[in-house]
Assembly symmetry: C2
Homo-oligomer: 219 residues x 2
Amino acid sequence: MKLSFAEENYIKTIYQLTDAGKKGVSTNDISASMKLKPASVSDMLRKLGDKGVIDYRKYYGVHITEEGKKYALSTIRKQRLWEVFLVEKLRFSWDEVVDVADELEHIQSTVLIRRLDEYLGFPKFDPHGDPIPDEYGDVRVRPRVSLNEIDLNATGQIVAVKDSSAAFLRYLDKVGAYIGARIKVIEKVEFDGSIEILIDNKKTIFMSKDVAGNILIMV
Amino acid sequence: MKLSFAEENYIKTIYQLTDAGKKGVSTNDISASMKLKPASVSDMLRKLGDKGVIDYRKYYGVHITEEGKKYALSTIRKQRLWEVFLVEKLRFSWDEVVDVADELEHIQSTVLIRRLDEYLGFPKFDPHGDPIPDEYGDVRVRPRVSLNEIDLNATGQIVAVKDSSAAFLRYLDKVGAYIGARIKVIEKVEFDGSIEILIDNKKTIFMSKDVAGNILIMV
DNA sequence: ATTAGGTTTTAGCTATGGCTAAATATTTAT
DNA sequence: ATAAATATTTAGCCATAGCTAAAACCTAAT
């Protein structure tokens, strides 16, 4: 079965909005993320449900099926390989690539993607640090380290927290840290283990050894 | 103004079917070339006429406008640059590239094409020997020589004839030569100037000095 | 338990770009 | 010059994928 451009975009978005939690992805979330009206989304969800790539129960959000995951991962693989190409070969900066990669990811040709992968030296991560699924949809999970353990001037991305208490998350939120944020360690204070980090190249924050120990970084 | 995928394909086809002669390109020719029904073509011609990229007089075929040429050349430029990329960087053979390039040529991004051009070293011809228009639509015309003048084992493409009488063209047609055919000189007979050529790697034909002198080759 | 507010779906419209079948125009052959 | 053949266009249909407005549904507060 072949998905249209629009269908590929939907399934990719649904996959990416899917949380570990068991609640389905809501129509409104998809609508907001894709900048389409909820009515249009409803319509498409019905179609995607008929095609078997999502489980769709009216009013209760959608869950992606195994079949659907295959399509999502295939599209994500293409998108990220093209992003590598644009940045490494055509000197695009990493914020310029999104629009173009979003078009390129819909080109249909297994051979093309296989050759592109080979040409790029089988990269495992895209310029944003996100993993590139292999041909079979397998994703290499990048090892995570605590923010305490990484070196001065090292960069990474916040991928998880050890302590997920409301208090801790509220604190992170207040200082501007969040899952997905890009960070760089710009100061390590030896005597108390506290550090200073730069978030998204915009804002610097201090944090204690305790806090840093609870933040997991993907290098 | 932005043309849709379908519109881009039509205008490209019309440009390529346009002959030096003053008769317009017919609905049937376009229909045959694009493998669409004549009725669909008629409909699109009306739309393209409204957009000003072609001159459309019902029942009398279409002529491309200067505006239209710009779009056609831009699409052809993209197509041929992608073909060079596929063949030179991704090791596609020159007959595999058409389908993929036909999809890639519709990606919208001036920057992308400029960078790709640069990355490929500003190529002037695609893998089929066809010229790549520059950013302003200018095409480098490749020098043409008479088939008499090229060396044994040299290859080239038939691009024109000096004698365009019906008799001569009918003769060429009969032996299987045509504008666009790839040829290779496989025998040169010194004493009468006749030659033997291989057409499209498929068929060999003999021709007299006279005939060869009236065929123009692009090396 | 009912209602208000937010979310989601349905119904009906639009545009694009195909199609078939029928009508019409042009060209060719008698 | 007219009839037959060919080419082209029109009319009306289908699918995709968006939209607005109205209806239906869910949830949370009274």
